[in-house]
Each structure stands twice: as C-alpha cells, then as structure tokens.
C-alpha cells in the first residue's frame, strides 16, 4: 500500500510546519532548528532519533502546546487529533475509573467506550481505577481514548513503551487497521527501529534538526541515519527487505544537504554487505 500513497503531492496537509525553531524555555539554546514538516491524510509518519533529540518537543509544537522561537505551524481547520503523550503522570489523589476517564472532556456512550477498549485489547476494564492498571494496560487505555472521536490524525509519542513483545507487533497491526478503516493519518515517535521500518510510509530522523527524511528504504541507506543509530541500525534494512516484496528502485530525494543519490534494491543489499 505504500506505493499507492506516493505522488499525492497536491493534497492539503493536515499539519504543516515551516522553518520551525524551538528554544529551551528561558534560554536561546535551540532544541529544534529550522524544521520543515507536513503530514497528509492517511499517511503514517514516524519520527526517530536519540533521547533528547527533540522528538517530543516537535510533537508538542505541532499540537500548539509550546511557544515557537521562529517559524509557524498551520493546522487544517477543524482538525480532530487523538493524542497520547509520552509521559503521563497520573496523580493518585483523584479517583478515576477507566470508564470515567474515557468521558474526559467529552462524554461518550457506554457502547462507544466498550468498543474502543475492545479494539485496543483491554476489554472489560471499565470499572478499574486508572492508577491500578499495569503500564501496558494504561498505554492501551490511552490509545483507546485517543481513538474515541474519529480523529483525522493520531499523534502517538512512544506508544509502545511498556507493551510486551506480542503487544508491540499487535499495536502496529492495530495502527495499520485504524488507518485502513478510518483513513486517519498517524504521527508516531518510536524507538522500535525494526518495526518502524516496516510500518511507516515516511521516516524522519531527528537530532535537533532533520538529519534525513524519506521512505523507510531511503532512510535505511542514508549515512545520516547510520551515523545516528550506529550498529543498532545495521540489521534494519535486511529485516525490512525480508518482509516486503513490492517493487524497489525508489528515488532517494536529498534532504537538507545530505547529498542526493539514487539506489536500487540491489544496490542497497550491496551497501549493507560491504558495511557489515
């Protein structure tokens, strides 16, 4: 399906950011420098990068939760966003069942709540207290809540943290299903490089600025990607090719002065072997 989504250059993006810079609060030290970003309807975009590289900051800026040092963010009018933040500290002082939580701030019917919890693999936990859930169960509840109001865009910051291994695989399957069923675009932050490469339409490597960007096959051969992730990234391409059998030979578009080159599928294998 990835092939189908190429060349949709003229669709209005859901969110478009240009020349975005963010400073650490109270200083002029840049957290993000001159980032251009856009996401189109139905697209799955994953942001990868080391800890502290500004992934969460980028997301919060796109959502308008953060003051910008420069640049601008344009969101499509009436855009419905389902958001799962990276860290969600819950205060145990407020009593809150899962069911009640799903009705914040907009109330939903019992059947909608039940369906959402079933979809994310935690059926029947409506009456449990939020603070009494395991990390993975809580993550699934957050996802269920993000799905409630037919979002045009799901923004998920490290949504697979705390999920078990089958859970991670099932999670990406679910994301794909959601996209198929609702046509929602999905913006992910993730450290699961192997799965990211299989499940995304577009990957953005971030480290204070955009180091490289493009389809998974482009990014996996980008020197900037290897510089960022080192040996950890080496196996990702092999695995990627293992699971995908559609046509290759995509043209790698140069981004941000990373240098342009084009590769065919065969070339990439050669590159991989010589590196290893």
């Amino acid at each position: 399906m990835r092939g189908l989504r190429k060349g949709r250059c003229c669709v209005t993006p859901l969110i478009k950011a240009s020349n975005l810079s963010i400073h650490r609060s109270g200083t002029t030290e840049a957290v993000l420098k001159q980032v251009d970003f856009s996401i189109r309807p139905g697209e799955i975009v994953t942001v990868v990068g080391p800890n502290g590289s500004g992934k969460s900051s980028l997301i919060r800026a796109l959502l308008g939760h953060m003051p910008l040092a420069s640049g601008g963010v344009a969101r499509k009018a009436g855009l419905r966003i389902g958001y799962v933040p990276q860290k969600l500290q819950l205060d145990s002082a407020i009593p809150m069942t899962v069911r009640r939580f799903l009705s914040l701030p907009r109330r939903v019917s019992d059947s909608v709540a039940r369906t959402a919890l079933e979809t994310t693999g935690v059926p029947g936990i409506e009456q449990r207290q939020l603070t009494r859930l395991s990390g993975g169960q809580f993550q699934r509840v957050l996802l269920a809540r993000a799905l409630l109001h037919e979002p045009d865009l799901l923004v998920l910051d490290e949504p697979t943290q705390g999920l078990d291994q089958p859970g991670i695989v099932a999670f990406y399957q679910l994301i794909e299903d959601v996209r198929q069923k609702t046509g929602a675009a999905i913006l992910l932050v993730s450290h699961d490089l192997l799965v990211v490469m299989r499940a995304s339409d577009r990957v953005i490597c971030l480290n204070g600025h955009i180091c490289c960007e493009g389809t998974p096959e482009d990014v996996s051969v980008d020197p900037a990607y290897h510089a960022l992730f080192g040996s950890g990234a080496r196996g990702t391409l092999a695995l990627y090719h293992h699971h995908h059998d559609h046509d290759h030979g995509a043209v790698c578009e140069p981004k941000l002065g990373q240098g342009g080159f084009s590769v065919s599928a065969n070339d990439t294998h050669v590159t991989e072997q010589t590196r290893a």
């Binding site: 969600l88 009640r100 914040l104």
Partner: protein, 260 residues
C-alpha cells in the same frame, strides 16, 4: 425563624458545606491544602488596608484574597510547585499583614475575633452573602466541571482537547479565594479551612469517580455542620471548633473503613 441564631448558624454552615464539598475535592486532588490558611493570613492584610482607607472590610479582604489567588496562579504557571507556593504565600501574607496592622492601632483588637469568627453571631446579611457566594461558585463549578477535572487529571491531555489548564487553575483559585474570604469574616479561618480539607479527605478512598467524591464530601460536610452544632448546644462547647471536631471524627471513621 431566621431570627433564631441557631437556625442562622445552621444555614450558614450548610451553605458553606454545599460548596466546600466539590471545592475541597479539588483542594485535595491538586494538593492545595494550605490555600485556606494562605487566604486567611492574606485577609489580615486586607483588614489593615480596609481600616487604613476606611473601606468595607468585606471589600478589603476580598480584594486581597483575589490578588493572592492571581499570585498563586502566576507563580505555579512559572513552574513552582503548588504546595511550595502556598507555603511561601501563607507565611509572607501573615508577616506583611501583621506589619501592616501595626500601623492601624484600631485594628488590633478586631484581629482575633476576625480570624476565629463566630458562626453563632451570623447576621442576615452575612447569610445572604454566604449563600449568594456559594450558589455562584457552585454554578461556576458545574459549568466548567469537565474542563476542570480534565485539567486536574493531566494538563497535556487537557491542552490536546483545547482546554487551557492555566485558565482552569486561575478560575479554581479565584473561586476558592472568594469562598474563603466570605467565610472567614463569618465563621472564622479555622472552620472554613477545615471544611475544605477534612470532608474531602474523608471521602477519598471510598469512591471511584470524582463526582462521587465531591458528593460524598458534601454529605460529610453537611453532617459535620449539623452534628457539630448539635454537640456545641449539648455540651456548651465553642461552635466552630465543635464542627471541625465532628468532621475530624468522620475522617477517622472513614480511615477505618477505607478501601485500601
């Protein structure tokens, strides 16, 4: 009927209990336990200002309380922890108040009566003021309930839903300041601070949702007022402290039956 001081005391207590249930729940959820004390101490400053400028004491204390609520919100928005801010403000307000009042000799004698209030001395005007304040704040809470609860659970989720957590915090602080400032004059700072915290703390642990906690806290506050008044009549004990003692007893009972 309203001439009967006991009935007036009961009505004043019930009016406060109605609004301290839900407000006190927010105080417990957001760890604002010192808010009552901070406002009470700031009120001393308000009294000094009122007397110095020949204003109504209600007006003076109310404006100082509102100024403090704004200050609390600004400081917490700048990243200070709520309990720290309230601790700092409670002590500084008291110190500034005592310094200010030393310049207004006529105020010194009023001070203790002011801080400790007397629910048995409530007049019709006080009663009207308390009920008007309580009903306004209740209406405000009902109107903004979903937004305020969401912002209390998590600020990022609230922002993603288009809620400004700073605005909700300001509104809550203002509501608290108004209720506390009105009540101090009438029932004293001990009683209003305790009514905010103790019933809500007693209700926590038995309930599953914020709404149930607010209702149960209101119920406990109402029963505390009624049984405290009754006890004070029965044993000829001071009324305000008797009401607080009653709520403390309910808190203790709730701990025994607490769902762990």
């Amino acid at each position: 009927m309203l001439d009967d001081f006991l009935i007036r005391a009961l009505l004043a207590g019930l009016g406060l209990a109605l609004v301290t249930g839900p407000l006190g729940s927010f105080v417990v959820w957001r760890r604002m336990a010192y808010f009552g004390d901070s406002t009470a101490h700031a009120s001393i400053l308000g009294v000094a200002i009122s007397l110095a400028f020949h204003m109504s004491i209600y007006l003076g204390t109310l404006s100082v309380a509102i100024a403090m609520a704004v200050l609390v919100t600004v400081l917490t928005n700048r990243g200070q922890a709520m309990d720290t801010v309230l601790g700092v403000l409670a002590h500084s307000a008291l110190a500034f108040g005592l310094v200010a009042i030393s310049f207004v000799p006529s105020a010194r004698s009023d001070l203790s009566a002011f801080l400790f209030g007397d629910i048995l001395a409530v007049q019709r005007f006080d009663l009207a003021l308390i009920w008007a304040g309580a009903l306004c704040v209740l209406a405000l809470l009902c109107w903004r309930w979903q937004r305020m609860v969401t912002a209390t659970v998590n600020e990022e989720l609230a922002m993603a839903a288009g809620i400004d957590p700073r605005l909700e915090r300001l509104i809550l602080s203002l509501a608290l300041a108004v209720v506390v400032a009105l009540a101090i004059r009438v029932v004293g700072s001990l009683l209003i601070s305790a009514l905010l915290i103790v019933p809500a703390a007693a209700a926590r642990g038995r309930v599953s949702t914020p709404e149930k906690m607010a209702l149960l806290a209101t119920g406990i506050a109402v029963i505390s007022v009624a049984s405290g008044l009754w006890a004070s009549l029965q044993f000829d004990s001071p009324t305000g402290p008797s009401i607080v003692s009653a709520s403390a007893v309910y808190f203790a009972i709730a701990q025994i039956f607490r769902r762990v």
